[in-house]
C-alpha cells in the first residue's frame, strides 16, 4: 500500500494479479491445507462457531487420489463412477459444442472446463423438487440431473426443437422439471431469486430447498447483497454457492474480492454459515453440498459456500484469455483437474482402471456425438429446422394483448 503509515499524499490502490501474459504462473497465495485436515462441524452448528471454515479449504482427496478426513466417505463406488461419467460427459459435450460454434452451427458457447466437479457433485446432494438458480457455467447440474443432451443441444442450436423457441442465447437453458431455473444473461439476479424461492417453500411449509449460484466476479453485484440480507433475515432454506474460478472475463478475482481474504468470509457479516471447499475435488464438493443441503432441509438456515476452482478455458467463444493471463496458468493450477483427480481416486480404491477410463471416454464421446447427430436433424442456427418468427410474439404475456397481435400481423407472420 503506497504511502501507508505516514500522513501525506494519498494514492489509489488498484489490485493487480501477480502475473500477466509471459510471466510464470504464481499461485503462492493459495494456501491448501492437507487433505482431510479441516474439521466437519455438525449441521446445526452456530455460524459464529465455524468462522474458521471460511478461511480454509476443505479437501478430501490428496495428491495420490486417496480420501481423507471427516468430509470423506459418503459416496460408494457406483456413485463415484456415476460422478466421473457426468463430468466426462460434460467435458465431451463442451468440446463438441465449442467446435460446433466454430463451425457456425451456433452463435456462441461457454465451457465448464476445469469446473465440472462443482455443479456435477452439487447436483447429487439435491432431491427432486429442489430448485437451482444457476449461472451459465453450471451445465453440470443438467448433465448430472439426467436432462437429455439432445435437448441441451436443441437449445444451443436454436433449432425447430429448441425448448426455448430460439429466444435465448445458446446455453441459457431452462428446465423446471429438472430443477434448473431459466438462466439470465444479467449477472447476479438469480441469487436473490433463489432466496425468494426458498422463502416461498418455507412459507408454504414445504420440504423443498433452493440453491443459488454466482461467480466470483458477480459477487460484486447488488443482488448478492440482497440475497445475503434476505437469507439472513428470514433464515431461508437455501444454499448460496459462489464459484470462484479466479477470473471474471479478463479480471482476476482480486478486483471483486478486494482486501477480503476469501469470498466465503462475506457470510460472516450476515451470521450465515460459510464454508470454503476445493472445487476440483468431487468428494469434497459433494460432502460440503450435502452438509449445506441438510442444514437447509432441517430449517437451520442458509449456507454460503465458496468453491475454489479455476476457469481452465476461455470465458466464452468471444474471448481469448492469452491476452490477459499466462497461457500455461491453467496447468499450474494447484488444485488440478477434477476429472483426473476423481479417476485417480477410483483407481486407487480399486473401482476403476486406466483401461476402463479409455473405454468410458470412447463411450461418452459416442453418446455425445449421437446426441448431436439427433439434434442436428432438427436444425442448427443457420441451417435446417428453425423456430418460427411467430415465436417472437408468443409468451411475452400469458395472453397476447391486442397491440402484439397488431404487430404480429404487421410482421406478416
Amino acid at each position: 500500500m503506497s504511502g501507508a503509515g505516514e500522513e501525506g499524499r494519498l494514492s489509489l490502490t488498484v489490485p493487480e494479479p501477480h502475473v500477466r501474459p509471459g510471466d510464470q504462473p504464481d499461485f503462492s497465495d493459495l494456501v491448501v491445507p492437507p487433505a482431510g485436515s479441516v474439521r466437519r462441524p455438525p449441521v446445526d452448528a452456530d455460524p459464529q462457531d465455524i468462522r474458521d471454515l471460511a478461511y480454509t479449504i476443505i479437501t478430501v482427496l490428496d495428491g495420490e487420489g486417496r480420501a481423507h478426513g471427516p468430509w470423506a466417505g459418503a459416496l460408494d463406488d457406483e456413485a463415484l463412477r456415476e460422478g466421473l461419467r457426468h463430468m466426462m460427459v460434460l467435458r465431451a459435450f463442451d468440446a463438441r459444442m465449442q467446435m460446433a460454434q466454430r463451425q457456425g452451427k451456433t452463435s456462441f458457447y461457454m465451457q465448464n472446463l476445469g469446473e465440472e466437479a462443482v455443479a456435477c457433485a452439487f447436483r447429487t446432494a439435491l432431491r427432486p423438487g429442489d430448485m437451482n438458480f444457476p449461472t451459465y457455467r453450471q451445465a453440470g447440474l443438467l448433465v448430472a440431473g439426467g436432462y437429455p443432451l439432445v435437448e441441451m443441444m436443441n437449445q444451443i442450436f436454436s433449432n425447430e426443437s429448441d425448448p426455448l423457441k430460439g429466444r435465448q442465447l445458446p446455453i441459457f437453458y431452462s428446465s423446471k422439471s429438472h430443477g434448473f431455473f431459466s438462466i439470465s444473461g444479467n449477472l447476479g439476479t438469480q441469487f436473490i431469486q433463489a432466496v425468494g424461492w426458498a422463502m416461498a417453500s418455507a412459507i408454504m411449509n414445504d420440504t423443498k430447498i433452493a440453491a443459488g449460484w454466482i461467480g466470483d466476479g458477480a459477487t460484486a453485484e447488488s443482488d448478492f447483497h440482497a440475497a445475503m440480507v434476505f437469507a439472513s433475515t428470514y433464515h431461508a432454506p437455501v444454499v448460496l454457492n459462489i464459484v470462484n474460478n479466479q477470473w471474471a472475463i479478463s479480471t482476476f478475482q482480486g478486483i471483486a474480492r478486494g482486501e477480503a481474504a476469501t469470498f466465503a468470509a462475506r457470510g460472516h457479516g450476515f451470521g450465515i454459515a460459510a464454508l470454503r471447499v476445493d472445487g476440483n475435488d468431487y468428494l469434497a464438493v459433494h460432502a460440503v453440498a450435502s452438509w449445506a443441503a441438510e442444514r437447509a432441509r432441517r430449517n437451520l438456515g442458509p449456507t454460503l459456500i465458496e468453491y475454489v476452482t479455476y476457469r481452465a478455458g476461455a470465458h466464452s467463444t468471444s474471448d481469448d484469455p492469452s491476452a490477459y493471463r499466462p497461457r500455461v496458468e491453467s496447468e499450474a493450477w494447484p488444485l488440478g483437474d477434477p476429472i483426473a483427480r476423481l479417476k485417480q481416486h477410483l483407481i486407487a480404491r480399486g473401482a476403476w482402471s486406466p483401461e476402463r477410463h479409455v473405454q468410458a471416454e470412447a463411450e461418452v464421446l459416442e453418446t455425445v456425438i449421437e446426441a448431436q447427430r439427433e439434434a442436428e436433424t432438427h436444425g442448427t442456427l443457420h441451417a435446417g429446422g428453425k423456430p418460427s418468427a411467430r415465436d417472437i410474439f408468443e409468451n411475452v404475456y400469458a395472453q397476447m394483448p391486442p397491440h402484439l397481435k397488431r404487430q404480429r400481423q404487421d410482421a406478416g407472420v
Binding site: M131, F133, P163, L164, K165, R167, Q168, F172, S174, S175, K176, F181, S182, S184, G185, N186, T189, I192, Q193, A194, V195, G196, W197, A198, M199, A200, S201, I203, M204, A210, S222, D223, H225, A226, A227, V229, F230, T233, N395, V396, Y397, A398, P401, P402, H403
Partner: protein, 332 residues
C-alpha cells in the same frame, strides 16, 4: 382509496393462499400509507411481513416466490424508490415467461404510491409510468378511484403476468381536482368511492369514459382524471374524458372511437413531458385518427425538470394549465 386497496388485497389473500404481501413497514405497522393495515393480524406473519430496505431484494425475492408458485403482492414505499429494483423488474420479471418459453412465470404485483400534490419534493412525487410501459412483458395500471382500485388490484393479483400498480397518492384520501386551496372532499361523497364488498374485478386493458363530450377528447389517468373533470367544468368545454386505467395493455379502441368523434385530443399526465406516456398516446392517436384530427394532439404534463418542493403548484399540471390548452385545442 386506501380502504379499497386494503380490501382488495385482503380479498385476494382470502381467495388464494398463494397471495403473500411484503415490503417496507407493511407488516406490523401496515404501511406508511396504511394500505396493508390489519393484514398481518388477519393472515399471519407468514403472509404479510416487513422487508429490509432493499427494493431489489423485495422484487427479486418476489420473483423467486412467484417462480415457486406464489402470487406476491409487494409494496415499494414510493414510486420514486423503485429504481433499485428496476433491473429485477425489467431484466427478470418482465422476461421470465418469454425466455423460459412459459416454463417459469412471474405473476407478481408491484404496488407503489405515485404522483405529486403532497409537497413531497423530488423523491415523493414522481410518476415513472413510462419507464414501465416501454418494457415488454409488464402490465401497468393506474386507478383513479376506489371502485377501480379494488377491482383492478384484484385483477392484477390474479393476473398471470407481472403488473405494476401505480397508486396516485394524492387520491388516497379523496378525489383531488387540482385545486390545493379547496378543502379535501372525502371519497364517500364520490359515486366511485363506493366499493362493493367481496370479490370483483375490473379487467386490465379497458378504459372508462368518465365524461361524455363532443368537442375534444382528454386522455387521462390517475389524479389527472379529476383535474380534467375540473378543467372541463371550469372552461365549460364539452370535453370527453377517457380514464385509461390501464396503460399496458391499452384500450386503443375506446381512444380511437372517442377521437374520431371529437376530432381533437389532449393528453395529460403528471410525469415529465419528454418520452412520457403522453408521447405514446399522441403518437398512437395521430397514427390511428390522422384523418379525423382537426388539430394536433396536445400534451399537458409536468415540466422536464425534477419535481420541485416549494413550487409544487407551478409544476403540477392543474386545471388552469389544462383548461388553457383545451381552449387552444379548440381554436386550432
Amino acid at each position: 382509496m386506501i380502504e379499497a386497496i386494503r380490501d382488495a388485497i385482503g380479498t385476494a389473500m382470502e381467495a388464494d393462499p398463494a397471495v403473500v404481501v411484503f415490503g417496507q413497514d407493511v407488516g406490523y405497522f401496515g404501511g406508511v400509507f396504511r394500505c396493508t393495515q390489519g393484514l398481518q393480524q388477519r393472515f399471519g406473519k407468514n403472509r404479510c411481513f416487513d422487508a429490509p430496505i432493499s427494493e431489489l431484494g423485495i422484487v427479486g425475492a418476489a420473483i423467486g416466490m412467484a417462480a415457486y408458485g406464489l402470487r406476491p403482492c409487494v409494496e415499494i414505499q414510493f414510486a420514486d424508490y423503485v429504481y433499485p429494483a428496476y433491473d429485477q423488474i425489467v431484466s427478470e420479471a418482465a422476461r421470465l415467461r418469454y425466455r423460459s418459453n412459459g416454463d417459469f412465470t412471474a405473476p407478481l404485483v408491484i404496488r407503489m404510491p405515485t404522483g405529486g400534490g403532497i409537497f413531497g419534493g423530488q423523491t415523493h412525487s414522481q410518476s415513472p409510468e413510462a419507464l414501465f410501459t416501454h418494457v415488454a412483458g409488464l402490465k401497468t395500471i393506474v386507478p383513479s378511484n376506489p371502485y377501480d382500485a379494488k377491482g383492478l388490484m384484484i385483477a392484477a393479483i390474479e393476473d398471470d403476468d407481472p403488473v405494476i400498480v401505480l397508486e396516485p397518492k394524492r387520491l388516497y384520501n379523496g378525489p383531488f381536482d387540482g385545486h390545493p386551496d379547496r378543502p379535501v372532499t372525502p371519497w364517500s361523497k364520490h359515486p366511485l368511492g363506493e366499493v362493493p364488498d367481496g370479490h370483483y374485478t375490473v379487467p386490465l386493458g379497458k378504459a372508462a369514459i368518465r365524461r361524455e363530450g363532443a368537442a375534444v377528447t382528454v386522455l387521462a389517468y390517475g389524479t389527472m382524471v379529476h383535474t380534467a373533470e375540473a378543467a372541463a367544468i371550469e372552461t365549460g368545454i364539452d370535453a370527453e374524458i377517457v380514464d385509461l386505467r390501464s396503460l399496458v395493455p391499452l384500450d386503443l379502441e375506446t381512444i380511437v372511437a372517442s377521437v374520431e368523434k371529437t376530432g381533437r385530443c389532449v393528453v395529460v399526465h403528471e410525469a415529465t413531458l419528454t418520452s412520457g406516456f403522453g408521447a405514446e398516446l399522441a403518437a398512437l392517436v395521430q397514427e390511428h385518427c390522422f384523418f379525423h384530427l382537426e388539430a394536433p394532439v396536445r400534451r399537458v404534463t409536468g415540466w422536464d425538470t425534477p419535481y420541485p418542493h416549494a413550487q409544487e403548484w407551478d409544476y403540477f399540471p392543474g386545471p388552469a394549465r389544462l383548461g388553457r390548452v383545451l381552449r387552444e385545442a379548440l381554436e386550432a
